[in-house]
């Protein structure tokens, strides 16, 4: 609307329209309810204002009315719940094949790593019309990744990954806010999401100092830290072969089956005894405190790259915290 006085946020993602539609429905419903109640009150206030010699009529109540105005609103509420739940399910389910951006939040900045290897600070360039999945963690306190124009928000926690995704629909520059209070410069922890036309995005990618993709950086770390000595690609390794693991089910020693998603990989590095693969011993050293968040992201990206596109497994994000036994 007005340049300096907007009344509605821009719509720049596929979810924005859905969220707005539900919001507008709620606005209309609320406006209707307010109008109905306030006008009844107004009418009663005027019609039944105190006049000398006119008494109030004592009315006990009406069970029928009570039931009616409990059940009908209840039904409307259930409808709102269902609609909202449907949208929420979409918001929480990144599509398969989305490209991944790794986000590390810290007081008071956003660090973003593209799969192709580009790093950005407080700014994220993305192509229009593509699914982008965010794999996020914090180095210190809880933050929250919020892009009003996309209608997405997800808290970013220390110690585990949380996931968000979007599909940008309009080129432009949009606010990125931290939405969970995190200390002194919480309000300064803002940035931009720069959505570009495909060609411009390619140019941008090419122009950056490409020091290799994130996965290749991860491969370097995999060698430096000695992971390769146990996690061999033959059957002789003391650790499981990691080729083809990501995105599939893994059978654990205690009989459970878990999905090998980003949090599983992360936990396996930081707290190996938590989930031991069936047929192997719990001898992997603990890397908690020995790898930075960026290194972890690179390792995760590397392990991901060892899988073909996961067959038949929806990339449902697991919100499993590090160290939990689920």
């Amino acid at each position: 609307m007005f340049e300096n006085f907007p009344l509605w946020p821009a719509r720049a993602s596929t979810m924005a329209g859905n969220v707005d539609a539900l919001f507008v429905f709620l606005l209309l419903l609320s406006a209707f309810m307010c109008a109905a109640i306030f006008s009844m009150i107004l009418i009663f206030a005027l019609k039944y204002r105190h006049r000398a010699n006119v008494e109030a009529e004592q009315i006990e109540g009406s069970t029928m009315l009570e039931l009616t105005w409990s059940i009908i609103p209840g039904g409307i509420f259930l409808f709102i719940f269902a609609w909202g739940a449907f949208i929420f399910f979409q918001e929480r389910t990144p599509p398969q094949g989305a490209s991944t951006v790794y986000v590390v939040a810290k007081q008071w900045m956003w660090k973003l790593q593209h799969e192709e290897g580009h790093s950005e600070i407080n700014e994220l360039h993305v192509p229009v019309g593509k699914d982008v999945k965010l794999v996020m963690t914090s180095q210190d306190v809880i933050h929250s990744f919020y892009v009003p124009a996309f209608r997405i928000k997800q808290d970013v926690l220390p110690g585990r990954y949380t996931i968000a995704w979007f599909h940008a629909t309009r080129p432009g520059t949009y606010h990125l806010f931290c939405a969970e209070y995190c200390g002194t410069m919480h309000s300064g922890m803002i940035g931009n999401i720069v959505v570009m036309e495909a060609a411009n995005y390619e140019n941008w990618l090419a122009g950056g100092r490409a020091s290799g993709s994130l996965a290749s950086a991860g491969q370097d770390i995999f060698q430096q830290l000695g992971c390769v000595t146990c996690h061999r690609t033959d059957t002789q390794g003391r650790g499981p072969n990691l080729v083809g693991v990501f995105g599939h089910q893994v059978q654990l020693e205690d009989g459970r089956n878990v999905l090998a998603d980003e949090n599983y990989i992360r936990e396996s590095i930081l707290d190996p005894p938590a989930k031991v693969v069936s047929g192997f011993k719990p001898i992997m050293p603990v890397f908690q405190g020995l790898v930075s968040e960026e290194q972890l992201n690179a390792l995760v990206a590397y392990v991901k790259s060892l899988s073909a596109a996961p067959a038949g497994v929806a990339a449902t994000p697991s919100m499993v915290p590090a160290g939990s036994k689920q």
């Binding site: 005894p273 719990p282 160290g323 939990s324 036994k325």
Partner: protein
């Protein structure tokens, strides 16, 4: 009607002016104490919840840490507390049967048991301090995964066990200390002959409090000391 309880009540020096009779006063006091104990359940409940969650997540470390606690001392403390609940029940019985001296003796016995418990607990905590099992910068704990001697447990998870241990036994001990204070006051009042078959409400309600503190310990003992001990 002249000997009705209501009339007798008005002569009872313990009747507070806003109550109609002793029965109403006693009922109110009892209900108040039960409600208060309900709040205590909620209070400890938060910690029990945290314990349960972390135990489920870090079971092997909880096993190893639990086995490092001193079982005989913990068991002895449990026995001491159970005896103290018996002695306070006997104190109430003595008051109900107008035996002033016996009331005092039983209350003193309860107090002694309570102090014994606290003394034993102090020793236990001291031992933990010496072994560097107190959470914080000087925490140090090593152990292996049960059944896998070559695999080390994660000491951070063991630290969570000890954090919960100190938080919960500490909060329990604080309640015991408050209980000791209450019983000192009760002993003084009983000695002065305040309690008899007509009026023993403070004894009864304090007894309820004491039983509650005992029950908390009866939950704490197996949850902290007895994890996987049967092997």
């Amino acid at each position: 009607m002249s000997d009705s309880p209501a009339v007798l009540d008005h002569h009872n020096p313990e009747l507070r002016h806003h109550f109609a009779d002793m029965g109403q006063q006693k009922n109110a006091a009892s209900l108040g104490m039960w409600l208060f104990l309900g709040t205590e359940v909620m209070f400890f409940g938060g910690m029990f919840l945290a314990y349960l969650i972390y135990r489920r997540w870090y079971y092997p470390e909880f096993v190893v840490a639990s086995n490092s606690l001193n079982l005989p001392i913990g068991a002895a403390n449990t026995a001491i507390l159970i005896c103290s609940s018996l002695s306070v029940a006997l104190a109430i019985r003595a008051a109900q049967t107008n035996k002033r001296v016996q009331t005092v003796v039983m209350l003193v016995l309860t107090l002694v048991f309570g102090l014994a418990f606290l003394g034993v607990k102090a020793k236990e905590w001291h031992d933990k301090f010496v072994e560097h099992h107190v959470p914080g910068t000087s925490f140090h704990f090593e152990g292996s995964m049960p059944g896998h001697p070559e695999a080390k447990i994660n000491p951070a998870h063991a630290q969570v066990f000890f954090s919960m241990y100190f938080a919960m036994t500490g909060m329990h001990a604080l309640h015991m200390i408050i209980g000791v204070g209450i019983f000192l006051w009760l002993i003084y009042q009983a000695w002065k002959g305040r309690f008899n078959s007509e009026y023993y409400t403070p004894l009864e309600n304090s007894g309820l409090y004491w039983h509650f503190v005992d029950i908390i310990w009866i939950y704490l003992f197996p949850l902290f000391y007895l994890i996987d001990r049967h092997k």
